[in-house]
């Protein structure tokens, strides 16, 4: 027994010390949903892939509320069974309290047959990374990518070399490839290197969030349930405008299996005006949480998880270019706007699919690489513009990206449009939607399916 264990340990050690290959078809930077799915899709098409992840999974990540659309990307990666087996909480829909209007919607009413999820991202992302490993991608955790040499990427052979360094080591090495896929999230290795990142002045927001134990929650029936019921009665994502927050500050309440994620999205100016200079972010955050009567009710028996507070500024940006000779930007590395409609992970997965498809086309039709890349770019940029146009407070249809957003809206199904309209209606952004679509169907669907939320008074 002891001998076998020792042998297994030795094998493990040698596999973890397995040298990084000198070359491959595609290098993927980052092992979040975008990177892991891109690696899985590409190995599935027969390409050799090396994925570098700076951290070691399971690693923390925000973004726990997932739309039902994630399933089609998980199906395509062959990872849906593993996700289902994990037993993440099913999310029944949304409960929204926006400037005094309390309304709710459930995905089932919009024709979605598979559930939305509330996931602990460390677990969710690990499952996706393990899938990439099982598909045959070479996974190097705790290896950071430093930069990519793209100077010969435009050549006939598309030669790219990527420099990386194992965490804690002093010297960097290089790997040769044909394409590099940047899925490094907010870090944006390639985007920063090439100066492609454009911070979004329309979103002067920051986010502060943390975790509570034992919070009650709202279910799809509009009733409040105690934390212990969460596996039996699926929760909704509860979203509320903050009354003092300039009309645009809001909070999320996302039930997880053991804790509840509660986050504030607030105009930076408002935060700096109201937070005393001696006051800690934690004290300020807890004060905001206590200021909302309904949230206070949900938190009546809850305790804050000490040390769980996190904060992010400047999370809204786009890229002037999402692909170029030899490279593709995916997920948050391409752009991220605002968490209001929970589209971050779905967008990451979508861009992974689009990139894998496009890289395959580029390998097969070398002479048409520019055209394939151009289709990728316009599709991905249009999706980003659509999310931005839906989310932006004070949206102006004169905005430069408007035509692109309209086109992306036109390419959306009635089902998707109906859900987008309903979600924008609930959060006082239906004007944004209407400026991009003339969709009586979506209006009708929302009128039938958005329900008032009556929280019984105690």
């Amino acid at each position: 027994m002891a001998k076998r264990q020792a042998a297994a340990r030795a094998a493990q050690r040698s596999s973890s010390m397995n040298a990084v290959p000198d070359s491959c078809d595609v290098v993927v930077i980052g092992g979040g949903p975008a990177g892991s799915l891109a690696a899985t899709y590409l190995t599935g098409k027969g390409y050799s892939v090396v994925l570098f992840e700076r951290q070691k999974h399971p690693r923390y990540q925000v973004g726990e509320s997932l739309l039902p659309d994630v399933w089609k990307y998980c199906d395509a990666a062959g990872v849906s069974d593993a996700i289902a087996a994990e037993g993440f909480l099913r999310k029944a829909g949304g409960s929204v309290d926006w400037n005094g209007e309390m309304r709710r919607l459930s995905f089932g009413d919009f024709g979605y047959t598979r559930p939305a999820l509330h996931v602990e991202r460390d677990r969710f992302d690990s499952i996706l990374l393990e899938r990439a490993r099982a598909s045959g991608a070479w996974i190097g955790e705790e290896i950071a990518v430093l930069e990519a040499d793209l100077s010969r990427a435009g050549d006939n052979e598309s030669e790219v070399s990527v420099s990386y360094r194992p965490v804690g080591e002093a010297s960097a090495s290089r790997i040769r490839c044909r394409y590099v896929v940047d899925a490094s999230g907010q870090t944006g290795v390639i985007g920063r290197q090439l100066g492609l990142r454009v911070f979004d002045e329309g979103f002067r927001f920051m986010s502060v969030w943390g975790y509570f134990a034992n919070s009650s929650y709202l279910a799809a029936d509009g009733l409040i349930y105690p934390a212990q019921s969460v596996r039996q009665v699926p929760p909704t994502t509860y979203v509320s405008a903050l009354p003092q927050g300039d009309g645009w500050a809001w909070l999320w309440h996302i039930m997880l299996r053991e804790t509840t994620s509660i986050g504030l999205v607030i105009p930076k100016a408002w935060a700096s005006e109201t937070k005393g200079s001696a006051e800690s972010w934690e004290a300020w955050y807890l004060k905001q949480c206590r200021a909302l009567p309904l949230l206070q009710r949900l938190l009546a028996d809850a305790t804050f998880c000490e040390g769980s507070l996190r904060l992010v500024r400047n999370y809204s940006y786009r890229s002037s270019q999402v692909a170029g000779p030899g490279f593709f930007l995916l997920g948050d590395a391409a752009g991220f706007v605002d968490p209001i409609f929970s589209v971050g992970v779905v967008f990451s997965m979508y861009s992974a699919y689009a990139a894998a498809h496009t890289i395959d086309r580029c390998f097969r039709q070398r002479a048409r690489r520019d055209e394939h890349r151009s289709i990728f770019s316009s599709q991905v940029q249009a999706r980003l513009e659509l999310s931005r146009s839906l989310a932006l407070p004070y949206y102006q249809a004169t905005d430069a990206g408007h035509a692109r957003a309209r086109e992306a809206m036109g390419f959306s199904s009635m089902q998707a449009q109906a859900l987008m309209y309903a979600a924008s209606l609930l959060t006082d952004r239906s004007g944004n939607f209407d400026s991009m679509a003339d969709s009586p169907h979506a209006h009708r669907a929302a009128a039938e399916r958005v329900r008032p939320l009556n929280i019984p008074l105690e």
């Binding site: 089609k72 990307y73 047959t113 289709i375 959306s412």
Partner: protein
């Protein structure tokens, strides 16, 4: 190569026999069915459809042709294909 309209529609049909749509009931695809609104071609399907059409008819679709007006129905696609085959 010249195709009749019927040949074009028949060549496109197998594309819609593919899986992956999150919907309850199957939809018969007619030449004027709005394949986008009905969710038969979603943001992911559009990539597959472009590749499918290029291979089936040995044509190339240019980036500036990837517009709703060319992809909304099989008839719109047929018009694009006929134009490309010139």
């Amino acid at each position: 190569m010249k195709y009749t309209d019927e040949q074009i529609f028949n060549a496109l049909a197998p594309f819609f026999a593919q899986d992956g749509m999150d919907r309850k009931e199957a939809i018969a695809v007619e030449p004027d069915t709005d394949i986008i609104a009905e969710g038969l071609v979603d943001s992911l399907g559009i990539f597959k459809l472009i590749a499918f059409v290029e291979e089936a008819f040995t044509i190339t679709i240019e980036p500036d042709e990837v517009l709703l007006e060319n992809f909304q129905t099989l008839r719109a696609l047929r018009n694009l294909i006929v134009k490309k085959l010139g």
